[in-house]
């Protein structure tokens, strides 16, 4: 249980880090280390080079961009957990991050690391998906911005080229008074969820749903939006019958069958958890 031999670099600028990644074969970026280090210790990955970006300046911080929150890639999960800015503008993220690992791992783990690792059940990946976040990437040709839908390519696979670094993520802010909820089922607190559901809702002046975003994590190769639920909510005044019926549609979603749960069980969880998440989000929603 020791990391395999590798060569270690700790550049201090994004440009140097990108240059190193372009020059070195089989390199891995080390951010907070809460996923890469276990994988190194267990020798699931055998990189020849480790590029530690902890000393790269300006990759950390939470910035208010008015209609969006921009979070630097190396921002520790702890900073997000305790950020008043995040709590007031995107309270769903505060609620979800408390389910990310434990205090000790949130002290080190970063948002960028979580997004690049792209575990199917990762809460922060679900947050990027539910908010339609924009991923900011630096490479040899400068910066580019990618919608999260294009950033996620497949199971634990991102659109990052080998010589690119995720430098930040931009979360569009929902209207004040929006409803939100994040609920997950895990065997133990802090474990990756078997299934998780996040919901964001906006009401119009009559109390009808004007905007809805629902994400389901842990089901498929990556967190997915429950589009049937979202579309069924728009323009409707939520009622028990409507919510029951819409959430039943989650039973038909693609689901993984593995050691943690069968596909059928995951689908049942998706139905139950989406129902609870919608109830909670509706109770927190105020009319426009």
């Amino acid at each position: 249980m020791k990391p395999p031999p590798f060569e270690y670099y700790d550049p201090s600028t994004v440009e140097d880090a990108v240059a190193l990644l372009g020059r070195l074969d089989n390199a891995k970026i080390l951010a907070g280390g809460q996923s890469l280090m276990p994988m190194l210790n267990m020798r699931f990955v055998m990189p020849d080079h480790v590029v530690d970006i902890n000393k790269v300046a300006d990759l950390s911080g939470i910035r208010d961009r008015g209609d969006a929150l921009e979070i630097g890639a190396m921002t520790r999960q702890r900073e997000i957990e305790f950020s008043e800015l995040v709590r007031s503008k995107c309270p769903l993220i505060t609620e979800a991050i408390l389910q990310v690992g434990h205090r000790q791992t949130r002290n080190r783990g970063t948002i960028g690391g979580s997004l690049c690792h792209l575990d199917p059940a990762a809460e922060l990946v679900a947050m990027a998906v539910i908010f339609d976040a924009i991923i900011i990437i630096a490479g040899p040709g400068g910066r580019r911005e990618v919608p999260v839908g294009d950033f996620i390519v497949g199971y634990m696979t991102t659109a990052l080229a080998p010589d690119e670094i995720l430098v930040g993520v931009r979360f569009p802010v929902w209207k004040r008074g929006h409803g939100y909820a994040f609920i997950e089922f895990a065997r133990r607190h802090g474990d990756f969820a078997v299934v998780s559901v996040g919901a964001l809702l906006e009401a119009d002046a009559q109390g009808r749903i004007a905007r809805a975003s629902v994400v389901i994590g842990g089901m498929d190769v990556a967190p997915r939006r429950a589009t049937e639920v979202e579309q069924g909510l728009i323009g409707q005044t939520p009622s028990k019958d409507l919510l029951d019926r819409l959430c039943q549609s989650c039973r038909a979603l693609e689901a993984t069958d593995d050691i943690h749960a069968s596909a059928a069980y995951r689908q049942r969880l998706a139905v139950a958890l989406s129902r609870r998440a919608l109830d909670k989000a509706i109770s927190r929603m105020t009319r426009a």
Partner: protein
């Protein structure tokens, strides 16, 4: 040391429990192994070595962290507190340690260093926690002896002992 050499071995200078150390190490050495094998501070225990059990928890610049998931070379210029650095001196226990002793907060003692470092940070951030908050705080630390009840009692008792007195 040239850049090529520095990519494989490095000199790391850091402070552990208030004492400055400088050692040349392999870059792949974890902080946990550095503390145990290089500094012979064997109070930090290694259980799972992949960030699940919490036994190796130390304080890195005052914040709890898994020492098995941090490289020693990443701690250049940083301040580490291990279980050895908690008590005020060799003859006096920290109030948190006293509370563990008095509430049967440990049996075999393997998880205890991680429990104490974790709770030290937690009680600093949250000096009068509820039982549920304590249970969440130690959810990243596995204990196979106590059933946790003694640990929870100890943490709640420690919070009382560590609270500033009215006179202070």
């Amino acid at each position: 040391m040239s850049d090529t050499q520095r990519s494989k071995r490095r000199t790391v200078s850091l402070t552990v429990n208030g004492k400055a150390y400088e050692k040349e190490v392999d870059v792949r050495l974890t902080l946990a192994d550095f503390l145990r094998h290089e500094l012979r501070l064997t109070g930090t225990h290694l259980g799972c070595e992949h960030g699940v059990c919490g036994a190796c928890t130390i304080l890195l610049d005052g914040l709890s962290a898994r020492s098995c998931l941090t490289l020693a070379v990443q701690c250049e210029g940083r301040e580490i507190t291990t279980i050895e650095g908690i008590a005020p001196d060799d003859r006096t226990l920290h109030p948190l340690q006293e509370a563990f002793r008095d509430n049967h907060g440990l049996q075999c003692g393997f998880c205890t260093p991680g429990m104490l470092t974790t709770l030290l940070e937690f009680l600093r951030d949250n000096p009068s926690p509820t039982e549920e908050e304590v249970r969440i705080a130690i959810s990243g630390n596995l204990c196979r002896c106590t059933g946790y009840q003694g640990i929870v009692n100890a943490a709640l008792d420690a919070a009382k002992r560590m609270a500033p007195t009215a006179a202070a």
